[in-house]
Symmetry: C2
Subunit: 528 residues, 2 copies
């Protein structure tokens, strides 16, 4: 492969507000990135961060990589210190990775004001560190921090850092837009100037962009168009402030728009799955509007479009969604109207074309419910139950009817907190009362309902609640607001999402829970 796809999700990406990886998380992230086919995985800063030291240690035995090599990140040696005696540099070698990437100051103002040393000593630090790494059998990459700001302020000094690194044996010198202030035209201009000033080939350079002008992806693409063949990204653009260049968008643009081969065969179509899995591990809600891989990336809402899409899907998508492992979706909303509802139903295997009355009723019902805060965009299972309940003669069997429930949460004098729920339901003609405890009110309710239904529906046991999302609507009313709950349930055959809306979070959860069990039982019954 001619291009170096360098991922720094585990190092620079970890700086994003809200992310905190365990070592096990880091190993899982590395496996997914390798599966996606990146060439380099920067795992962290051994020595500086205890978790990162442990990651590199465990990686030696627990990580088998097929496409990628591991990279340890660190800094050049300290000012005034012998490189061989610098414990930070020693920790980089101890990490045992084939590649080491060291950050160097390349803006003279940062050298003098933040590092508090001289320009010459900084150059010596770069040279010594690179030589030492190479002498110890490592491939050395140098991240030039604040490259573009430095180059604008004092081109000669920044150029001398590039030359020092290359002369000392660095394989790549990476131009970092650390503060993220660049635009694509500025990147192109700077690279052309750097190449002519230093005589270094663009193929020896790399690019690392932050997203502070919302141009990180475009800046990275512009650098590649200017001849750079090494680019640093993070999955989903995670990173400090507005983040880094998003790996999935950069790679998709290079492969699908510029026709460059940057990933091994068969990898790009894993983009959507890997992106979602990495969001899961980072414990960040996936950005549904993310380019290429977001759930809404190919979702069409406008009634205008939805009716035309029936004619020719490719006229309305910039690429075939399947090349990045994504799907086209039709959203069910008030703007969409009948055409969307019909298409969406067809997606779910329900043909409403022959049932115009049902289509009218469902469209009206969806409009009314959405006006009250409901949203079926993510809740396909609830939508399907709604459509089926309107289809003539094809009603959904409700597995039980509710008489009443009661949930109690108690914080006792000794500090323990307990949750207990009682449900009274009718199942196949029998009245059942069941009580259970749980970690919280919704869990207790779920447990009690399962106890009540378990005799009649033993396969309920295989259902697991896998995600629970709470959205408070009308944010300006505090706890008086309406609550919308999305529940994701799964069993061995798949997963499904249901929705509930109520001013009371417990009742909203109950509604979603009932839909989840109803849908799951209907599916199990018809497929078994």
């Amino acid at each position: 492969m001619n291009y170096q796809v360098f991922d720094t999700t585990l190092r620079d990406g970890g700086q994003r507000e809200g992310i905190s990886y365990t070592v096990a998380d880091k190993l899982a992230v590395a496996r997914l990135l390798d599966e996606f086919g990146v060439g380099f995985i920067e795992g962290g800063w051994p020595g500086a961060m205890p978790k990162d030291t442990e990651f590199f240690e465990r990686a030696k035995t627990e990580l088998e990589l097929r496409h990628a090599v591991l990279v340890a990140f660190g800094a050049t040696r300290k000012a005034g210190v012998d490189v061989a005696a610098d414990p930070q540099v020693k920790a980089l070698l101890d990490a045992g990775t084939p590649v080491v990437c060291v950050v160097a100051k390349s803006d003279i103002r940062h050298v003098e004001r933040a590092l508090r040393t001289t320009g010459d000593e900084n150059l010596a630090m770069v040279r010594d560190t690179v030589r030492h790494l190479v002498a110890n059998g490592r491939r050395a990459f140098v991240d030039c921090e604040h490259f573009f700001d430095g180059f604008r302020y004092d081109p000669a000094y920044t150029a001398s850092v590039v030359q020092a690194a290359i002369e000392a044996g660095a394989e790549r010198v990476v131009m970092c837009d650390t503060n993220g202030g660049m635009l694509p035209s500025m990147i192109t201009k700077a690279i052309n100037e750097v190449v002519s000033l230093t005589g270094v080939s663009p193929e020896q350079l790399g690019i690392h962009c932050q997203n502070d002008t919302a141009c990180a992806v475009a800046n990275t693409v512009a650098a590649v168009e200017a001849g750079v063949k090494h680019f640093q990204c993070t999955a989903n653009g995670y990173g400090e402030r507005p983040g880094n260049a998003d790996l999935f968008a950069v790679v998709s643009n290079l492969q699908l728009k510029l026709g460059l081969k940057v990933l091994p065969d068969g990898c790009l179509e894993k983009a959507t799955r890997v992106s979602t899995a990495l969001a899961e591990i980072a414990n960040i809600a996936p950005d549904t509007h993310q380019a290429y891989v977001g759930a809404a990336a190919f979702a069409h809402k406008a009634g205008l479009h939805a009716s035309a899409i029936k004619v020719d899907p490719l006229l309305y998508n910039h690429v075939d969604p399947s090349v990045v492992g994504n799907d086209m979706r039709i959203l069910v909303t008030e703007m969409a109207g009948r055409a969307s509802i019909e298409l969406k139903s067809r997606e779910l295997g329900l043909d409403l074309a022959g049932h115009p009355d049902t289509l009218t009723k469902v469209t009206q019902k969806v409009k009314d419910l959405e006006a009250g805060g409901w949203s079926f965009e993510a809740a396909d299972a609830s939508f399907e139950l709604l459509v089926r309940s309107e289809l003539p003669g094809a009603d959904v069997a409700r597995p039980f009817t509710l008489e009443s429930y009661r949930v109690l949460v108690e914080h006792r004098e000794d500090g323990t907190v307990i949750s207990e729920a009682t449900v009274k339901v009718r199942v196949r003609g029998e009245r059942v009362i069941a009580t259970a405890e749980g970690n919280g009110p919704v869990n207790a309710l779920d447990e009690a309902l399962r106890v009540a239904l378990s005799n009649h529906y033993p396969h309920l046991k295989s259902f697991e609640l896998t995600d629970y999302k709470v959205r408070i609507l009308e944010g300006s009313h505090g706890t008086n607001a309406i609550t919308r709950v999305l529940l994701e349930t799964s069993n061995h055959t798949g997963e499904w999402t249901t929705v509930g809306v109520h001013e009371n979070i417990v009742e909203a959860s109950w509604t979603a829970l009932v839909d989840a069990l109803t849908y799951g039982l209907a599916r199990t019954t018809t497929t078994v």
Copy 2:
């Protein structure tokens, strides 16, 4: 002003999944956009959408704009219909706006397959509609749908649409990247070719970019660099699929990076406030990582940076945050360490420089709590209480101590749902028991606690819960997961945010509630 800042938040932006504006919302959005200084506000499609018709009707009397003019959006006349007899075109005139923007097909494939008419008839539709609008005293803009795809497929046909529109009297012809598949270099190349092929000046062209390659902002900037002076954006990039070009990033880049004056004086610094207010109205959680205006846009987490920022903040920010009305923030996280905690405390008016032991204790406590799922990044009030409780001799007075609470949620046989809470607390030596009802379990608890404390703290009445956010951590465990609650409380002197974490959502809310009241009472007591 030489540049036309054309906002389509209310029209194209409304296509975003999850957005549903009322007419009152639309009026509020228009007022905010006008305050931000945009030149054109596209309000919707009168005739096609009843809400939009009503919006334009009410705008005539209820909307006073200082900077902007209103634009009605619609389509060219129908194929084979006299333009004067086309009810859709008539509705555009009835909207009474000085400007009308009509969408036209400019990709011959869409003309033939989606519109099902001929290239010639489509050109006649453009000419007739523009002439009719101009004859009726309107400034006419033409949005060329699928412009870039069409131009690539059949340059001559797409060019003929541009020429037809200009010859008929259109003030601007807007090149729309409807499917969003372009990169900046492609935009530059296409514009140069269009100009040379049609002889139309770039100043007569406009640009409208969708974000499907994550390059909408960069594409818009590239078009302006190529000479285009009319650009269409949406606030926060709201729009279908991955959205549109974000108004705030585009305008900030043009003004701050390219030195172009596109907004009236004094408007750019409203960017952060207007962005947040528009997210509120759209009922979409603000994107904290949004360039320029996000809460984290200038937030520094890395310990490395945080210590250097003390030396010189401007070395670490690509622009001064105040020029877009934003602030620099220091995040409190495990990665930040002592330097960040010290800076953050200083932001809150607490100088820990002279208390190294307290600093150590607070740093350790934050690390431990964050390992358990707590997050102080957004919860300044809880963080301040934590710091104050560790300061020697400066302990926070706890207004009460809890003995126990009990919350009951009941779904009764008649379908009513009730929530009732009882709290038993000690307030200034007195044991108080109070019970109250609420819309949900947390609201009931809040009400009961207020009843219990009201005699001793009458100014509690002025506190209002203004936002309540629930985050489920460890998303793969369903309702067994840990819950983090963020509560925003306000009174006439300001607002503050507190956090609570527990496996039980009620207990997590309780913790945040107690902090909210404690913090508010401490503040009220010391300031009165």
